[in-house]
């Protein structure tokens, strides 16, 4: 525990000294916020409120990218092997990756919420504690996915390619860029298998519809399950040395991480309640905005 905390502190220091990190974790999410709220929502407070879950989800989802790149770079440059000489457990290193990512995401999230409240005049944050809980969970889960990417790739190049592929799936099929109700049914069905969709949908429920966390229990369970699975698997596949290559069998083990999302996807596609739910939330917002209705 003590080692995890020391490592977390150092990882945070290193991240704050890294310009790329500042760009991707602070500047880019804020740019998304302005794009969504000023351009897509045209500064309309209710619409901006509807956009906020996507903005917040994007902020949290990006964490897997930087985390996996850093871990692979540390391995490639032989930094990890120096740590290997010291009496520390890889679990502490991996945990510090997640905790530092989470703590560094918080200021950006707070800034986004503050701008939403005081600049865009978003009338309500729904169930604020629920939002906070889901964002925390999402941050930890997506950071853990970064650990998995790092554990199945051998080089920075491979990591970039895989991250790119995952990122596109996550942002375009989850409702984080194009709201789910705009997507064809079959795309929505695919989206139901993605952790990103659960995060965006869950956030929409608690932020826009102000429901309790209990109402988004499937999403919560999937994110927790995915995070735990990803941490355990990446610990099992952890490699200190640059020349240690990932085996095919290990890649199979890593694929286990998709199990909770696969199950939830199948279940969700069979029931279809979430799809109906996101549509209803969208309709409700539009109805409130219809001419003649009090805003």
């Amino acid at each position: 525990m003590k080692h995890t905390w020391t490592l977390t502190r150092v990882r945070m220091l290193l991240a704050l000294r890294n310009r790329a990190f500042i760009f991707f974790s602070a500047i880019m999410p804020l740019a998304f916020l302005f794009l969504y709220c000023s351009v897509f929502a045209r500064g309309q407070p209710q619409q901006a409120g509807y956009m906020m879950p996507a903005v917040l989800a994007l902020t949290v989802m990006g964490s897997f990218w930087g985390l996996s790149m850093q871990l692979v770079m540390f391995r490639e440059q032989g930094i990890l092997r120096r740590f290997r000489l010291a009496p520390i457990h890889p679990g502490a290193l991996l945990a510090s990756s997640i905790v530092s990512t989470y703590l560094l995401t918080l200021p950006t999230l707070f800034a986004e919420l503050a701008i939403a409240k005081w600049f865009y005049r978003v009338p309500s944050f729904g169930n604020l504690w629920g939002v906070f809980a889901l964002l925390s969970l999402g941050s930890v889960a997506f950071a853990s996915f970064g650990l998995i990417v790092a554990s199945v790739t051998n080089s920075m190049q491979e990591t970039t390619v895989i991250n790119q592929a995952i990122w596109f799936l996550f942002i375009f099929l989850s409702g984080a860029t194009i709201p789910l109700p705009f997507l064809p049914g079959w795309v929505q069905r695919i989206g139901a298998f993605l952790p990103a969709t659960h995060l965006v949908t869950g956030l929409q429920y608690v932020f826009v519809a102000a429901v309790s966390l209990l109402s988004v229990l499937p999403e919560v369970v999937a994110l927790v399950g995915g995070a735990v699975m990803a941490y355990v698997v990446s610990l099992k596949l952890f490699r200190w040395e640059p020349e240690e290559r990932i085996t095919r069998r290990a890649k199979g083990v890593a694929a286990a991480v998709v199990i909770p999302f696969l199950l939830l996807g199948v279940w969700e596609n069979a029931r279809g309640t979430r799809r109906a739910g996101t549509q209803a939330i969208y309709d409700a917002v539009q109805k409130r905005l219809a001419p003649g209705n009090p805003r």
């Binding site: 080692h3 290193l14 120096r82 290997r84 000489l85 010291a86 009496p87 520390i88």
Partner: protein
């Protein structure tokens, strides 16, 4: 007192078809500075990394401070310090932060200010790792190896790639560590380093220890003959050169003729006369007191750095 702190018995390790270690055995006594001398790829790093618990041997036994490096992870790590051959630190980590971070992992810690001072890093303590010179990085690596006041130090090519002046600075530091009574296992391919620093040396080649003893013993064992190295205008048979007065051993290595002579004056006179008679010319001539390189040449027919 003087019980072996490091014991290695018949270590073997293959990397695929490559036999990196083919039965390496040696023991290092407490307080000894022991050198593994050999060319690149001889198996030095593999041996050291097995002792540090970073690699697993295929067979054979290794013990450090009475512990099996394979099994006693954290317990062993508390007692050893090491400078690895290929490693780095994050670029934007400051010198003092690196020391603090690594010392925080151990239960027994040294005063970091003293370490910074001692390794000439006090002025650089706020500098980023990326801003350090090669010598400073290496001194930091050594300081980091000492944060837990280890009983045993493993130094894998600690001076490789450093310029001669910085290398000599490192020698002074290592000599000081030896005076303090630390047990040190050093790998090197620099003859000078092994001769100057080591109490005992194991010469290692192709995964085997081919000679073991103090530098002086090793040189004596090889006959203590003076080395005469010559390049000639026209090739000559080494057989002819071996016949010269006083030559104990002669061979051609690349374009040079290396003779070991017990009576160097006579050999040189004889060489010059022979060249005159053959109508051959001398292009260069070097005479040197025997070194561990000569021991290596005698045992393998090759130079240490080829």
């Amino acid at each position: 007192m003087n019980a072996p702190v490091i014991e290695v018995e018949n270590l073997r390790k293959n990397y695929g078809p490559v036999e990196a270690l083919r039965g390496v055995s040696f023991a290092v006594k407490e307080g000894e500075l022991f050198g593994l001398l050999g060319p690149n790829g001889a198996g030095k790093t593999t041996t050291v990394e097995i002792l540090e618990g970073m690699r697993t041997p295929d067979s054979g036994t290794a013990r450090v401070c009475g512990l099996d490096p394979r099994k006693s992870g954290a317990e062993l790590k508390e007692q050893i310090g090491a400078v690895l051959q290929s490693t780095a630190l994050p670029e934007k980590l400051r010198v003092a932060e690196a020391l603090e971070l690594f010392s925080s992992f151990y239960s027994h810690r040294r005063d970091l200010e003293v370490l910074l001072e001692r390794f000439g890093l006090a002025e650089k303590k706020r500098a980023f790792y990326a801003q350090l010179s090669g010598g400073q990085k290496q001194r930091l690596a050594l300081a980091m190896a000492l944060v837990n006041e280890p009983q045993v130090l493993f130094l894998d090519e600690p001076t490789a790639g450093l310029d001669p002046q910085v290398r000599r600075e490192m020698y002074a530091i290592l000599e000081e560590l030896r005076r303090e009574g630390k047990t040190i296992l050093l790998t090197t391919h620099y003859i000078e380093e092994a001769e100057r620093l080591c109490d005992r040396v194991a010469i290692i080649d192709h995964g085997r220890v081919i000679a073991l003893g103090s530098p002086r013993e090793l040189k004596q064992r090889s006959g203590g003959a003076t080395r005469i190295e010559a390049t000639l205008a026209n090739p000559a048979s080494d057989g002819a050169l071996r016949q010269l007065d006083g030559v104990a051993d002669g061979r051609r290595i690349a374009d040079r003729y290396v003779l070991h002579s017990t009576r160097p004056t006579q050999t040189i006179v004889a060489l010059v006369r022979w060249l005159e008679a053959e109508g051959n010319e001398l292009q260069s001539l070097q005479i040197a007191a025997p070194t561990l390189e000569d021991v290596f040449i005698e045992l393998t027919g090759r130079r240490l750095r080829e």
